[in-house]
Symmetry: C2
Subunit: 308 residues, 2 copies
């Protein structure tokens, strides 16, 4: 699947992933009204609203954006109906040939970690059958529990030719509380990065590994170091736009081949219509605003990459 | 909810939680056959089998065990039907007045962490309504992302009088890869423990905090230190039994008041019938074997506590 991701990024010339994090406050009122009219102010109603919101955006970006990253928390909060909307979103993106990165940040140990890997990337055994549950292409994974948490994911990645992005240095202000603490003179995130590189070497695709890393756009200097620590890992870069990361900061996350990173934007794309810059589209045409914002983001990042 | 947990532990004289981690290989054949007969070898069939398995065990232990800890990964792997079985299990345990610790190990930042907190402990806003999604009493949380990941949980815990257990030192062999690394002369898990104590002080119940910690039974010496670092936090202790933790090792996780820790056993209880010790019950009476194993575990731990 890393090969497919690389191919799509090259073909569409867009090292970009759109975060499908449909908070209700982003969903235009007419979609909410329609969903509540049909299902009432229920979890089903909320799930219908976010699904229709997602669908319209996917329809407007799938030909220019290689991948989406649905944030499962935003679906999980709506319970079972929310998880159904998550699954519908994954399946619909696959219909549109998009790569799906499940932003699930799971992580446990042994058989439990294997169950998470199976849930999101693999197939579960039921009697004599093997059935896929959520069936994303990549999942994000938390490293705090060490190899016991990661190895079961590696096993499933090898079987299914799918991939993971392991949290290394997250984009949030307090990520340094633990991640930046010095161990033998170097920050924890570098030690995690080194382990990611070890794991990555066990699961190589053609040019890049199935095992990638998450490094926040908000820490470009750390991105520069981590790029070298994990040369074969794709870096998933959150924090562009809303969180303050700028295109010129992002060039250090890429390798010399112009690849090796994929930059995420969530609200900057899906809620573009609410920004002054794209207000001219109007709330009714929110998905057109999303398309324009995606084009602008791609140009912004490619512009910075071409300048270096 | 920490007050309720403490009350129930005192009343039942049982500092014990049963992990409802229904791997299919633990589910007796007659339950699998019945479920597959009704639903086929489908996710629905698997979900029905694990639900019937859980229900029988809950019916046999609710009067002697204060709490359960369903491991969501074991349900998530069966997709939407699995999550429905998870929710049914949570609700049924509440009917039986058990405290439910959702072992979800979630952790993200800002609005995303808030969505997870809402999903598992709080209520989500839908139009003018507020609706609970999964509605556990406690959730386990991963600390790697720092305060940005924890604060949204604290907010929901305060609103709902619910609680969390933050991963500090996990029970698995490789937990030391990152957690034991020395920072300013002390291991990372101690630094995490200190933060847990800070967070705990912000959310006090009567005698203990809403904010607890996870420390593996397999590391008793570390448990001794962490007990002092986090005096007001309940410690959720996995790793008893199957993973090798012994009752005499567990006394250090408790405070002098005989409280402050709750010991988990999963397969040791739910798959007791498969152990030689309880084979006399037979597979058909698996839930009776679970009850006996729970009684034996409670006696084992209380025996060790009384000896100190």
């Amino acid at each position: 699947m890393i090969n497919k991701l690389v191919d799509k990024i090259k073909k569409q010339n867009a090292p970009v992933v759109v975060g499908l994090d449909p908070m209700m406050k982003f969903v235009p009122k007419h979609l909410q009204d329609a969903a509540f009219k049909e299902y009432g102010e229920t979890l089903e109603g909320a799930a219908e609203a976010i699904w229709q919101f997602n669908k319209a955006i996917i329809d407007n970006i799938y030909d220019i954006v290689p991948a989406v990253k649905p944030q499962v928390a935003m679906y999980e909060q709506f319970g079972i109906p929310g998880m159904i909307a998550f699954k519908k979103t994954v399946d619909y993106c696959h219909e549109k040939d998009m790569v799906v990165i499940g932003d699930v940040k799971r992580g446990d140990i042994g058989s439990t970690s294997e169950a998470y890997a199976v849930a999101h990337l693999g197939k579960v055994k039921v009697g004599n059958k093997e059935i896929a549950a959520f069936d994303e292409d990549f999942a994000t994974v938390n490293p705090y529990l060490g190899s016991d948490g990661i190895n079961p994911f590696l096993k499933v990645c090898k079987e299914e030719k799918k991939g993971i992005f392991i949290l290394v240095k997250t984009s949030n202000p307090s990520s340094g509380e633990f991640q930046d603490r010095l161990i033998d003179g170097r920050p924890l995130y570098e030690h995690v990065g080194e382990k990611v590189n070890e794991w990555a070497m066990q699961c190589m695709g053609d040019d890049y590994s199935y095992v990638g890393a998450v490094v926040g756009a908000t820490y470009p200097e750390m991105g520069k170091v981590l790029r070298k620590v994990m040369p074969k890992s794709f870096i998933l870069v959150p924090g562009y736009g809303a969180q303050g990361g700028k295109a010129e900061d992002l060039v250090h996350f890429f390798n010399e081949d112009g690849l090796g990173a994929i930059v995420n934007s969530s609200r900057g794309i899906i809620a573009a219509y609410a920004k002054e810059e794209y207000a001219k589209f109007g709330e009714a045409n929110f998905a057109d605003a999303s398309r324009q914002a995606a084009i602008d983001m791609i140009n912004d990042i490619n512009g910075a990459l071409n300048k270096r």
